[in-house]
């Protein structure tokens, strides 16, 4: 990979990337309110389950978007791609969180890595899903492979919840960080599997789900309306 490619991947995965990811806990805030995550080991197990549902779905679509962006996909393709990811995200709270981060990432990414692929995507939808944008930013600028994009998407599915845990529970930041890094081999396997499906028609891409996490996301929204919450999701 070129040096600029490596840098694009690192910048997208960086918590300081100005894409608006810091306001999302990925269901962790609701999990802490229910007392099901209170300690670093419980955080690690929460992240493990998150990686294998939401994280895997993001990885699959980020990898496929990278491949399609590099292949010059047009507006019609992205409309279909967007509808397929919507159909795999039944929770409106999760669709909103994904599109909010997608829009933020696209705005920052358009300045950093402009490409005709990104223009095509934004012509199809002004608020694309987060995973789609990650893939198009890497694939459209020639800065990353499908597997890179899958790894970034899967990592971001974990790192946001982990840093939220530090703020919500006052967890030891070293322990919270280790809860993420311990999942390294698992994350590699998820990214590798995601890269295997990139040639598939969007309708045939995998559709992993995590029923309890979907319910936590909806409960978070309900409580968000009723009382003050720190995070948007």
């Amino acid at each position: 990979m070129t040096t600029s490619g490596r840098l694009a991947m690192l910048a997208l995965a960086d918590a300081r990337f100005p894409g608006g990811g810091h306001v999302h806990s990925g269901g962790l805030e609701e999990a802490t309110h229910r007392g099901v995550v209170t300690r670093p080991e419980e955080l690690r197990e929460f992240l493990f389950g998150r990686l294998h549902g939401t994280g895997e779905l993001a990885a699959v679509f980020a990898a496929a978007a990278t491949h399609s962006a590099a292949g010059g996909a047009g507006r019609q393709y992205w409309l279909r791609f967007d509808a397929e990811l919507d159909a795999r995200t039944p929770s409106p709270a999760q669709r909103d969180a994904s599109r909010a981060q997608g829009r933020g990432t696209a705005r920052a990414g358009r300045v950093a890595w402009p490409s005709s692929a990104l223009d095509e995507l934004l012509a199809a939808t002004a608020r694309p899903h987060h995973a789609t944008v990650l893939g198009v930013l890497l694939g459209g600028s020639g800065n990353g492979t499908p597997r890179d994009a899958a790894a970034v998407a899967a990592y971001l599915a974990l790192s946001g919840s982990a840093s939220a845990a530090v703020r919500l529970l006052g967890l030891d930041p070293f322990a919270a960080n280790a809860a993420v890094t311990e999942l390294g081999p698992e994350l590699d396997r998820v990214a590798e599997r995601a890269a295997d499906t990139v040639g598939d028609d969007p309708a045939d891409l995998p559709a992993p789900s995590a029923p309890a996490l979907d319910l936590l996301a909806e409960a978070h929204q309900r409580h968000h309306r009723e009382e003050v919450r720190l995070f948007a999701s």
């Binding site: 197990e45 929460f46 389950g49 795999r88 995200t89 929770s91 919840s161 992993p208 029923p211 909806e218």
Partner: protein, 254 residues
């Protein structure tokens, strides 16, 4: 064992829903209720498991077609036990549904229990015409009380005139994934009911471990998780009642 059962219901010239094709294939036995008992406006068929199935090696297919304007209620009679059996490769069951313009399908099987060492794959594919309605219930019980469940992969695809409304696959995986609050939160029972039923809830409705959510491209899904089947059914029923047509959907009306 390989089995393929077929069921087709159409609207006749008087507007009654009549069974046009009914082909049982053991263990998928289809038992129609006499029209005299149902009033004729809708067809009611019971799905009876006439043998112990699915066992490892079984491939069970059910194909359902509901013609334009016709109404079908297909109801399960007893829980299905997915068992390991003597043949390798696990068991597979698939249900393919087509509902034509203005048709209605209610597919309400009883729960599927995944026993120890079972390897079961299930798939439901529904293609809806314009203004077609459907509800399909799925209740999965991951192991009998105190039992470690085998492996499962169950997929649901609902499309309307080619547009995807819902695609999801549940793979509860190993004990670690089932226990994770970010996945199944130790639930033993997972219940789901997509409802493409004319009107949709304007906003999500939710409670503890259940929700009713509007989908992006139309339709909605009620879902619930619980430690036991009775609680899961109660939570699912609560979610269904949140639908604009919840009173109609909650009634055992046929």
């Amino acid at each position: 064992m390989k089995a393929c059962a077929r069921l087709s219901v159409e609207c006749d010239s008087r507007g009654d829903s009549v069974v046009r094709e009914l082909r049982s294939a053991s263990p998928l036995t289809l038992m129609p209720r006499p029209a005299a008992r149902t009033g004729g406006k809708h067809a009611v068929v019971h799905l009876v498991g006439s043998m112990t199935a699915p066992l490892g090696g079984d491939e069970l297919d059910l194909r359902i077609r509901v013609g334009a304007g016709a109404r079908l209620l297909l109801r399960g009679i007893a829980a299905t036990l997915a068992l390991p059996g003597h043949h390798p490769g696990g068991s597979r069951s698939s249900v393919h549904v087509e509902v034509d313009d203005g048709g209605t399908l209610e597919y309400l099987p009883e729960h599927t229990v995944l026993t120890r060492r079972a390897e079961h794959r299930a798939e439901l594919r529904v293609e809806l015409g314009a203004r077609a309605r459907m509800r399909c219930r799925e209740i999965l019980v991951l192991g009998r009380s105190g039992e470690v469940p085998g492996s499962l992969r169950t997929s649901t695809h609902v499309t309307r005139q080619g547009t995807p409304l819902l695609r999801q696959t549940l793979d509860p995986g190993d004990a670690r994934r089932r226990a994770s609050a970010g996945h199944l939160a130790s639930a033993r029972v997972v219940a789901n009911e997509p409802m493409m039923w004319g009107s949709d809830p304007p906003a999500p409705v939710s409670g503890d471990w259940w929700s009713l959510v509007p989908l992006a491209a139309g339709g909605s899904v009620a879902s619930a998780v619980a430690a036991d089947a009775v609680t899961a059914r109660r939570r699912l029923a609560e979610a269904v009642r949140g639908h604009p047509d919840g009173t109609e959907l909650a009634k055992e009306h046929w």
